[in-house]
Amino acid sequence: MGGFARGSLGVLLPPVLAVVATMILFAGFLAAQGVDPLTAYRLIWLGAFGTWFSWQDSLVRAAPLLLTGLCVALPAQMGLMIIGGEGAFVLGALAAVAAGLAAGNLGLPDILVQVIMAAAGICAGGVVIALCGLLRFKRGVNETISSLLFAYIAIAVMNQIIAGPMRDPGSLNRPATRTLPDNLMLGTIPGTTIHVGLIFGIIACLAAYICVYFTKFGFAARIVGGNARAGRVVGLPVERMILAFCFAAGGAAGLGGMVEVAAVQGAVSSDISTGAGYTGILVAFLARMNPLAIIPVAVLLGGLDAAGGLLQQRLNLPDATMLVLRGVLFVMLLSADALQGRLTRYLAPRRLPVTV
């Protein structure tokens, strides 16, 4: 086996083992609920990737996950663990609607208004996460905790704004903002029901991948992530890099919020907090913080989301079934990390030159 193949096997094997272990454990869990695991898995496959209809549903659900996954994976390059993507997502959606409703009346071309909406979403999300980075290096505040606190604060601010200043007088029972006019909604990819947000997400992941692995800036970031002190010693502007990466991360999640509101929901209500920010944590971990790997992982988890409805209809399983599956997967994934390195050592050819 060549060095490269062995290397990638060593990286890929633990997550694959984690998925297999999860499927076995989850089958046991389903059996304990009196549900036939094979039927359930067949339905999950059918609901996720079994038909073109379910593929489209899965891809639509993957779109926000691509962006919230980046919100975790980008700061991770610098050794920061941000888990508050939900806050950036919610504020991004709110800012995008505010921008769209305000700029929509100026007589600008629709595409320009949409760009302004995206920029507003990116800025709103970016500022929140950049603040977590700022607090980290200015005051030593743990970014994991602060980002989660910011998420709760962001949701409270969103609730306050949609109940007060931005409330649509027509929304009687549940406060919501006014709905975006149809001409400002994002379109779909021709021939499908998939909105263009998926393309935004894929472009963002590709751009992040190139930036992290093929630019000097990304290389410097990974040095800092490995050892911040070494980064400072060689004269890297660690603080500014943290800010840039955190802003980009929050911006990605904020763009996710913009996509959610401008392609799916149309207005911001408390429904905007879909949990995509939290699922993004799992996406990033499953992708091993690699922006390129986020793409297939997000599609996989989007598929699981899409299958949840089918499980509920056919087998009468509660909504939270998929949360359990995800939780088990996350736990197994981290346990499998312990295997990292050991497997490759085991697979390595003994007393042979590495060049094959």
Partner: protein, 308 residues
């Protein structure tokens, strides 16, 4: 008549009463986490443990009719989740913060799944002690109805402080947390000590969760906890790993959490959501003040990943 006469005094009264009522989960979670963190490990998954404790406590109380059995069950479920955390963390190359995040998601997911049948039925709640019997003002009577778990928590704080400082077990936990190598040289196994410390933390968080579902608000729903577990973990840092400081900090956070409902009760509904965010803002502000980029925090366990 007396009710109207109280007027604006109702706000500090409601905040004070709320401080006692809302602080109890914070108190239990943070006291447990003090022990876990003193042993050199951080368990961010306590939010999930809290929700799981709330669900299982409610379910057991519903089936057995005894809320105290519910509290016990919540504690046991919590300690199992703690053991799971400790077990995964004892594997090589595993980061305790990441495991905490995973268990946060796992615990809440499992609780929502298993808790679906318990959203509607009413389970027997924990009793409270009417300390306001001397007054005939209903608000004062309501404010001074204090749950027994609160007193247990208040008693546990000095007890834990004493035990960590003066007993052999306390010394062992502190040594493992400050320098695992030294502890190993003395013949203690850091992994075993941390396993028990994390189980204890999980037990306390589970009990804290059962308070939510069995006393205040007193029923099971998916929106029961909104980050109390995470706030409590942050609160331990603020309390500098001292159980008595956890008690004061919990009361402070409880008061902040009661601000929104208290203001609403006297007719101020403007900014209701923002006042509800007061505990998160307070946590953040306190962390900004208490932390420092240049030096390790005074009193921080040497092995703790979060302060390194």
């Amino acid at each position: 008549m007396a009710a109207e006469a109280l007027g604006w005094w109702g706000v500090p009264l409601a905040v004070g009463a709320g401080a006692i009522r809302v602080s109890t989960p914070f108190l239990f979670v943070s006291l447990g986490e003090v022990v876990t963190e003193t042993s050199g490990r951080i368990n961010l998954g306590l939010e999930g443990t809290l929700v799981m404790g709330a669900m299982s406590g409610y379910a057991i109380s519903f089936y057995t009719g005894s809320p105290w059995l519910g509290v016990l069950a919540a504690g046991i479920v919590g300690s199992l989740l703690g053991a799971l955390h400790a077990g995964i963390c004892s594997l090589p190359k595993v980061n305790d913060i990441a495991v905490g995040i995973a268990l946060l998601l796992f615990g809440t997911g499992l609780a929502f799944f298993l808790g679906t049948p318990f959203v509607a039925p009413q389970a027997p709640n924990l009793p409270s002690i009417p300390l306001g019997f001397w007054s005939d003002v209903p608000q004062i009577q309501a404010a001074l109805k204090v749950n027994v778990l609160f007193f247990i928590g208040v008693a546990a704080a000095p007890l834990l402080a004493w035990a960590l400082r003066n007993t052999g077990v306390g010394l062992m936990i502190r040594m493992v947390g400050d320098n695992a190598e030294a502890a190993r040289a003395m013949g203690y196994s850091p992994l075993t000590v941390r396993l028990w410390a994390t189980c204890f933390g999980g037990f306390m968080a589970g009990v804290g969760g059962s308070f939510l579902s069995l006393y205040y608000p007193g029923s099971w729903s998916e929106g029961l906890s909104s980050g109390q577990g995470i706030i409590a973990v942050a609160l331990v840092i603020f309390a500098r790993w001292r159980p008595m400081y956890c008690l004061w900090a919990s009361l402070l956070f409880g008061g902040a959490g009661a601000l929104g409902p208290a203001l609403q009760s006297v007719g101020i509904s403007q900014g209701y959501y923002l006042f509800n965010a007061a505990p998160y803002v307070l946590t953040l502000v306190i962390m900004i003040i208490a932390c420092s980029p240049d030096r390790t925090l005074a009193g921080a366990p040497g092995e703790l990943s979060i302060t390194k």
